[in-house]
Amino acid sequence: MTKTLEIKDLHVAIGGKEILKGVDLTLRQGEIHALMGPNGSGKSTLSYALMGHPSYEVLAGTAELDGENILELEADERAKKGLFLAFQYPTAIPGVTVANFLRHAVTNVRTPDRKEGEDLMPMREFRKELRETMEELGVDGEFARRYLNEGFSGGEKKRAEVLQLAMLRPAFAILDETDSGLDIDAVRLVSEGVNKVAARAGTGVLVITHYQRILNYIKPQFVHILFGGRIVENGGNELVDKLEREGYDWVREKYPDAAVDEDELERRALAESKFAF
């Protein structure tokens, strides 16, 4: 049965400041969508809000996964419903191996009714599946024994995210700037992994990016432009080409109200990045 993820009029604030100002977007399983937008347009806010980060406050709107509004749920419950977020900056968990972490994750996601403290997926079965998946994705076997994201290169972090995606087989996956910080070979490698995994599990994918290059490898059927905290354009691959050729000036001219909001968001993003350095 094909599931849908339907986002309606989503308004999200962080630190009391409204970033998303009414986002509407519908994904079906098996579809690949690209969400493009300039820096600060609210792309990452959308991914964090959908996954349930506690710092992101939903002011209004709904996100229904198969008819149920997931915005009321904790992040772990959303994961169990079949939502996955590939992080732009995955967090290191020192002392916890990739294999140990994944065994917990896989067990929880596949047996959502399991009570805490009950047995994890049998070790032998899990190891076999992990080994096969790693081979398929061309990930070195040593990877499983390393501490999660600790000391990983940028490319290794993204491949670890794809490995998790492959093991968790979600109904919907959001890839948040998965191409950032990768050279072109790494982008290709990661993209091939995503394509393989998504095709097999029938995952609906939302690729968030502000570059075209990842979309050369993960071909979207639907393209959306997020600008000033709302989706202003919906289309197909021609939108990618147009943005590549002309940038966002035409979007700015066509949607002057959104441009005002976008300018403010970009100023804010710039100020924050300065602060971070």
Binding site: F87, I93, P94, V96, F101, H104, Y147, L168
Partner: protein, 513 residues
């Protein structure tokens, strides 16, 4: 001075600042912003269940109500009692005199006011000596049935069969069971309780007894010296390597009991041993006292590892003095896990007295509700080219307090010495507390000293990352905590590592797994 700091040590003011910051921090993981008030209410229910849980779930809290005592002293301490203990044990006069002198020192020394709060400890409300069995068993069948049942529940005979070279089991004041693998006996290894050692190996005992930790060392060492009973005596002859661990198990069963075991380990040249101790007690409303003394000598080229998994019930004052002397090219390692007790004050020490000697102290402390773990380590570099490493990891939760207290001393002339101290603290909620008291005294120029301290709270981003993969908040926290102590747990033998992880899970989950 030429310091090879891997990171600059904090000076006193910085430490004070850090401490103050920690104490004033008010945002904890349980105060995360939650959108849904209904869930928030559920959360607080979960939390209070957890808080309750910690105490209820101490799984070693059972007691044997009908244990039959062949001797039980009245409460309180007197010259007469000390004489009586010595008499009952049939000790030589030197030991009797030693005890009496120690009693005087104990009575003269004030109770320490640093470290933890000892004001509620009432010396007159304690049974100082209790004997549950008339004789010691060589097989478990010799042990009185009710006591054997207790050790069965604790899994000791099973562990012995599976992976130990020798076992000593102490119940209240006396060791009720002792065994050592036959091939080791033939090689001259001695592993007996210390009372037996005084009788059977008087010269060996007298040569080393109280030479590492003299009576005057501190009030509790003096107390132990006066009323000591039980503990292990281990002697490893030159060149003998004991490949699998010897274990001692200490059990307090009675309310207001004081347990004062005394352990002496001698590792001769080129010999090797791993000694493990475990401790539990039932839960009573009033306090019991555990005050041990452990002395270790590691001779030239010898190696000794001493592992403690202390999991006392939360009403035990655990005030222990542990010290080792490492001679030329010897290695002494303390692996110290402190999970239970009301207050633990324990700082395993290594004196590096021979050139090239090495000392390592790995310490994990977990402070839950109503607990204060004041733990750490002490290393004295007294010879050239000696090296040491102290790694301390503490976790505090539900209002618990974990302190690291450490001394690093390099004496004049201990040139070419190296030391590295790392203390990491993890604080799980805003009610809990962590402090660091590192003392460093360097009287030699040619040394390399590194000191790093870190304090972290379970990060919101770490929790979110794990939860986004389907782990519940509790499960995610447990995983983060077990990762935090992983560098230490992996130093433990497999069986203990598994046990340690189980204990941590129990402390974290607040539900029986």
């Amino acid at each position: 001075m030429r310091f090879g700091f891997s990171s600059r040590p904090l000076d006193f003011d910085e430490y004070r600042l850090l401490r103050n910051q920690l104490n004033s921090q008010t945002t904890g993981r349980f105060e995360r912003i939650r959108r849904n008030p209904e869930r928030r209410a559920n959360m607080s229910v979960d939390l209070s269940a957890q808080v309750e849980g910690i105490k209820d779930e101490y799984k070693y809290g059972f007691r044997d109500s009908d244990a039959d005592y062949s001797f039980k002293s009245g409460k309180g301490l007197s010259r007469r009692l000390v004489e009586q203990i010595s008499e009952m044990k049939g000790e030589p006069d030197w030991m009797r005199q030693f005890r009496l002198k120690a009693l005087e020192v104990f009575q003269q020394k004030p109770t320490p006011t640093w470290g933890g709060d000892l004001s509620a400890l009432n010396y007159d409300d304690i049974h100082y000596y209790m004997k549950a069995a008339d004789r010691q068993g060589k097989t478990w069948d010799d042990v009185p049935a009710d006591i054997k049942r207790t050790f069965d529940k604790l899994g000791i005979p099973e562990a012995e069969r599976k992976f130990l070279a020798g076992v000593g089991a102490q119940y209240e004041s006396e060791v009720v069971y002792h065994s050592l693998r036959e091939d080791l006996q033939k090689k001259g290894v001695i592993f007996v309780d210390t009372d037996t050692a005084v009788r059977e190996y008087p010269d060996l005992v007298r040569e080393y007894f109280a030479t590492i930790i003299p009576i005057h060392d501190n009030k509790f060492a003096a107390l132990n010296s006066a009323v000591w009973s039980g503990g292990s005596f281990v002697y490893i002859p030159a060149g003998v390597k004991v490949d699998i661990p010897l274990q001692a198990y200490f059990r307090i069963n009675t309310e207001n009991m004081g347990q004062f075991e005394r352990t002496l380990i001698i590792v001769e040249e080129g010999a090797q041993v791993h000694y493990v101790e475990g401790c539990t007690a039932p839960i009573y409303t009033s306090e019991s006292l555990h005050s041990a003394v452990v002395e270790i000598v590691v001779k030239k080229g010898g190696r000794c590892r001493y592992t403690t998994i202390q999991n006392w019930a939360n009403n035990i004052y655990n005030l222990v003095t542990k010290r080792a002397v490492a001679h030329e090219d010897a290695l002494m390692e303390w692996v110290d896990g402190n999970l239970g007790s009301r207050l633990t004050m324990k700082y395993p020490a290594v004196y590096l007295v021979g050139e090239g000697a090495r000392g390592e102290i790995l310490s994990i402390a977990f402070a839950g509700k109503g607990q204060h773990q004041d733990a750490g380590g002490k290393v004295v570099h007294a010879a050239p080219n000696t090296s040491s490493r102290i790694i301390s990891k503490s976790i505090s939760k539900n209002g618990g307090r974990a302190s690291y207290r450490g001394l690093l001393k390099v004496a004049d002339g201990a040139h070419g010495s190296k030391s590295n101290v790392v203390c990491d603290a993890l604080i799980l909620d805003s009610a809990s507390r962590s402090d660091t008291y590192p003392y460093i005294e360097i009287d030699e120029d040619d040394v390399k000293i590194g000191h790093e301290a870190s304090v972290s709270k379970i990060g919101e981003e770490q929790l979110f990352y794990l939860m986004s993969r389907g782990l519940s908040e509790a499960e995610a926290s447990t995983l983060i905590v077990s990762g935090f102590i992983e560098p230490l747990v992996k130093e433990l033998p497999m069986e203990y590592a598994v046990e340690m992880n189980k204990l941590i899970q129990l402390q974290m989950e607040g539900s029986v797994g």
